[in-house]
């Protein structure tokens, strides 16, 4: 056995954050959104509809514990006691496994609402590329969904596929975007129907003498084509925004946006928290309707 720990190229940093300008003691309603995805989990704490603190970490194999861990991680950034929260909404793939949530809401509704908040009310088309599925939504100026499409039958073209490739090629996941452009000529795409086929195709190309950057570019192109076919089916109305971890990967997004012919919207927020932001905002709306926890 080789000495030392094997580098995990797919691993990305977990983080938590708090807004230093907000004091939770001034808030009327404190709502929490928990998005337990297939790969990552997020918790967002909102004070009267403003983002106060959030945390982002890997889900792991135990959904109820992931929800608890990510909430604790978010609370750790603050000095707020958990009992202070007025409403908690669970969303995402593991939303039924958030034991302390008052309600669960689908990720379709939450991502559109969250994108409306973090990108602004101009957003009309939201693409969420998650760990194991792709969702495309059209929404109105209030973030209410008007049309949606989701492909969760197959995980091709999703975040987990990119993690598999990062590991195969030995390129840290955060560098994938930049490295996929370090090529002289854009290669043709590999198989875009299946991560497993794409991986065996990529292994063959490496044997043929392709550089890792070329193979990466070919895979990024395949993912962009896969995502494009879904988006094209629903139709794109500007402005266009992308949420989820894939929004941080230029390699796929630049290739996708070149096909669509638009520029994606920009935000100062972490794109991965959109679902949890939407969940917390729904919690706030429900509190305003008088459905918050009785204390």
């Amino acid at each position: 056995m080789p000495e030392g720990k094997k580098q995990e190229f797919w691993r990305w940093d977990e983080s938590n954050w708090k807004d230093p300008d907000i004091d939770w003691k001034d808030a009327k309603y404190i709502t929490v959104g928990i998005d337990v995805g297939s790969v990552s989990s997020q918790a967002v704490i909102m004070t009267d509809g403003q983002i106060y603190a959030y945390a982002n970490m890997r889900t792991g194999f135990d959904s109820p514990n992931s929800a608890r861990n990510v909430l604790n991680f978010a609370l750790k950034a603050t000095d707020m006691p958990e009992e202070r929260m007025d409403y908690c909404v669970g969303t995402g793939y593991g939303r039924v496994n958030v034991p302390f949530a008052d309600r669960s809401i689908t990720e379709i509704a939450c991502h559109a609402r969250g994108a409306n908040f973090i990108y602004g009310p101009e957003v009309r088309t939201v693409l969420d590329v998650g760990g194991q599925d792709i969702k495309a939504m059209q929404c109105d100026e209030k973030g209410k969904v008007t049309n949606f499409l989701m492909n969760d039958k197959c995980a091709a073209g999703t975040g987990r596929g990119m993690e598999v490739f990062a590991d195969l090629l030995g390129i840290p996941i955060t560098e994938v975007g930049e490295r996929s452009f370090q090529i002289d000529e854009e290669p043709p795409a590999v198989s875009n129907t299946c991560v497993v086929y794409a991986k065996s195709e990529a292994t063959g190309l490496l044997r043929k003498g392709w550089s890792t950057e070329q193979v990466l570019a070919a895979y990024c192109r395949a993912m962009a084509e896969r995502i494009y076919s879904l988006v094209e089916r629903m139709g794109v109305i500007p402005e266009f925004a992308i949420t989820g971890g894939m929004a941080k990967n230029r390699g796929v997004i630049d290739r996708l946006m070149a096909k669509i012919g638009l520029d994606p919207m920009k935000t100062k927020w972490d794109t991965q928290i959109a679902g949890a932001v939407g969940a917390a905002l729904f919690g706030y709306a429900l509190c305003l309707k008088g459905k918050g926890r009785k204390k």
């Binding site: 969904v145 969760d152 629903m234």
Partner: protein, 96 residues
Amino acid sequence: MLANYGYTDGSGDYFITIDTDKCNGCGECVSACPAGVLEVLDDDPNDPLREEPVAVVGTNKRNKLKYECNPCKPSIGRPPLPCIEACKAGAISHSW
């Protein structure tokens, strides 16, 4: 809202679209579908603040539509689909 339930795979697109603005949650489609694909929920899972009943494609059927709907879709002499006929509001459509 146009709720598209279904998927795309190597053989084509298999989506059932329910226009939730037209759907009144009457439930006629539920009894009309021989495969039990449709169900009515008390509130729309994708529009949590609406709080009116609406028809959806069941979560355990969404990724099997190609096979579940197949008996109603013979390759020749295709009769009208029972779900679409049952829906007086005209809220249901199929992509294939």
